[in-house]
């Protein structure tokens, strides 16, 4: 059976939903193993067992977080060799993709990013050119490296749990030699809302919110949604850059994307047009966002959104 190695970088206290998705996919492809970087908390250890992980690898070096990408890729390459894995799965974040990129070169392995589904034979499905094509691609090398987008499968624990066998993987001494050092790290305050990349529902605002995300936040809270933004809104400093959706922000494919006060420029569409359902609220009936909206409202977001929020609360009594 194929050995499938899932890379989980700094899981924190609990495993993210996207990590559980990776473990679920791993089980469908073969025997799941995990290469972990960072601390292993009890909850995480329990989840790994519940998801049927057979082997758990941890690095011999504790300072991988002090460098940019290079040493993590060295560690993961060593882990792949130790585990004798033929498929490697990581999340699709910018950093994980770069770890995958360098791992690919180290192992002579093909790397496929933005994957949304994996067939049992390792064929990976994704969409390209801003969602205008769906493709099936395969690595032609002995090892396949895939970075998988969040929300690709429904996480499911294994029928029978496991007690993973833990071993330490030696990180080569030279791993950090030609790497940039991270000299400062500022944690961003947590919003309490779902993570944008993983959210089922996103309420996104653009220049039309005119500095006031309040009505969007109220609606997002009523729907349990994450907040997104256009570049015009992040450039204006009304919300952090990490909320940006689009070509140079995040690519999201939620069940529902509510776009408010966003014109729908090509770079914004590039990040959201694979959403299952798109709702747009915009004052200007000519806005390109209406070309792709399933439900469009020509109107003032400051009227429409609060009314919708009230109505949702009312119906829920």
């Amino acid at each position: 059976m194929a050995k499938v190695l899932v890379f989980i970088d700094n899981p924190g206290q609990v495993l993210k939903k996207s990590s559980l998705e990776l473990l679920t996919i791993a089980r469908s492809l073969g025997e799941p193993a995990v290469a972990l970087n960072g601390e292993l908390h009890d909850d995480v250890a329990a989840a790994l067992g519940a998801y049927g992980v057979q082997s758990l690898y941890r690095p011999s070096a504790a300072d991988l977080n002090d460098y940019l990408v290079g040493p993590k890729a060295s560690y993961l390459a060593a882990a792949v060799q130790t585990a004798d894995a033929t498929i490697v799965l990581t999340e699709n974040s910018a950093e994980a993709r770069e770890v995958a990129a360098r791992l690919g070169i180290k192992l002579g392995a093909g790397v496929i990013t933005d994957v949304v589904a994996v067939d049992p034979d390792g064929t990976a499905h994704k969409s390209v050119l801003a969602g205008s094509y769906t493709t099936a691609a395969k690595a032609t090398t002995p090892v396949t490296v895939l970075t998988v987008k969040a929300n690709s499968v429904t996480p499911e624990p294994a029928v029978t749990g496991t007690a993973p066998v833990t071993s330490t993987v030696r990180v080569p001494d030279t791993a950090a030699a030609a790497s940039a050092r991270i000299t400062a790290r500022n944690e961003k305050p947590a919003s309490g809302r779902p993570d944008l990349a993983e959210a089922r529902i996103i309420v996104a605002g653009g220049r039309g919110v005119d500095g006031n995300f309040g009505p969007l936040e109220d609606l997002a809270d009523a729907l349990g949604a994450a907040i997104g933004a256009s570049r015009a809104a992040t450039d204006a400093g009304w919300i952090g850059h990490d909320a940006q959706v689009g070509q140079t922000g995040k690519t999201v494919s939620p069940q529902l994307y509510i776009s408010a006060g966003i014109s729908g420029a090509i770079q914004q569409k590039a990040g959201m047009q694979t959403a299952k359902v798109i709702v747009a609220v915009n004052k200007d009936a000519e806005s390109p966002i209406f070309e792709i909206a399933d439900f469009g409202i020509v109107g003032d977001l400051f009227q429409v959104l609060p009314q919708a929020t009230e109505e949702i609360k009312k119906r829920r009594g």
């Binding site: 940019l68 050119l129 909206a293 409202i297 109107g299």
Partner: protein, 266 residues
């Protein structure tokens, strides 16, 4: 300083983009300089201008790999202000994946650094066609250079480079020593446009064309034979079409909730 900026010729996203041929490669007929590479070019120009520019012996080399048309990306870079252009072109390169692309580009960078060393390789954060962001990291791996990717600011003090990165959970400050590979985001600067003077000056600048033989790469190492991934099938997704559009008559918020309820989104 000698800076190489990678510039890619990509299909213009304003128009419909297509995959063509058996290998499902990108159709490059209506192509332009990748917008995201303009930020890398601007960053390079600012670095050398702050040090006396070309007059002080500093150079910005725009390097593009691609078919004949890709020379346009190099020309535009020269008009914007790059000092020299290099076009890596070879029939065998067509259909290269990220791994094969990074192999060829790494060989080209080594070739260009053979006489005087390259201090910095600068790239955009992603190409606007493939958007994988794999190539910068793979190039750093192949050239054994520190990678400083997704830089939203860049400072250079002697050979000490400091950059800011805006990650998901945290913002980071990153330091490396030259030579290094840096990719920049669209947050780093406001790229300049070519002006009349630049367009005239570009006519006198040299563009060197390199083939695989010049950089010591065997044709089997690139293109489909050198690639480690293959696209097996591609399907055009039906374009999204507009749904119901209503004009607010004072109750659109309620209609929105009706719609969400009908979609089982509540």
């Amino acid at each position: 300083m000698k800076i190489i900026v990678l510039v890619k010729h990509v299909p213009d996203a304003q128009f419909d983009r297509h995959l063509t041929g058996e290998a499902n490669t990108t159709d490059r007929t209506e192509s332009i300089l990748s917008e995201l590479d303009e930020y890398a070019l601007e960053a390079a120009l600012q670095l050398i201008e702050a040090r006396g520019g070309e007059a002080a012996g500093h150079k910005v080399i725009a390097l593009s790999m691609g078919p004949a048309g890709a020379v346009n990306a190099v020309k535009k870079s020269l008009q914007i202000g790059a000092t020299e252009g290099v076009h890596l072109m070879d029939q065998a390169l067509a259909g290269s994946d990220a791994a094969a692309t990074s192999l060829a580009l790494a060989a080209a960078v080594r070739h260009l650094g053979a006489e005087t060393p390259v201090d910095l390789v600068l790239t955009g954060m992603a190409s606007t066609d493939g958007e994988t962001s794999l190539v910068p990291a793979q190039l750093a791996e192949r050239l054994d250079l520190p990678q400083v990717t997704f830089a939203s600011s860049l400072e250079l003090d002697g050979t000490r480079l400091t950059a800011r990165r805006d990650g998901d959970a945290h913002a980071e400050t990153v330091e490396a020593t030259l030579p290094a590979l840096v990719s920049v985001t669209d947050q780093i600067n406001d790229p300049r446009y070519p002006n009349f003077k630049g367009i005239m000056a570009a006519k006198k600048k040299t563009i060197t064309t390199l083939g695989l033989a010049d950089i010591g790469v065997d044709p089997s190492q690139v293109g489909p034979s050198g690639s480690w991934t293959a696209v097996e099938s591609a399907e055009a997704r039906p374009a999204r079409t507009a749904g119901t559009i209503i004009t607010d008559e004072g109750d659109a918020g309620i209609k929105l909730v009706d719609f969400l309820a009908a979609q089982k989104m509540l």
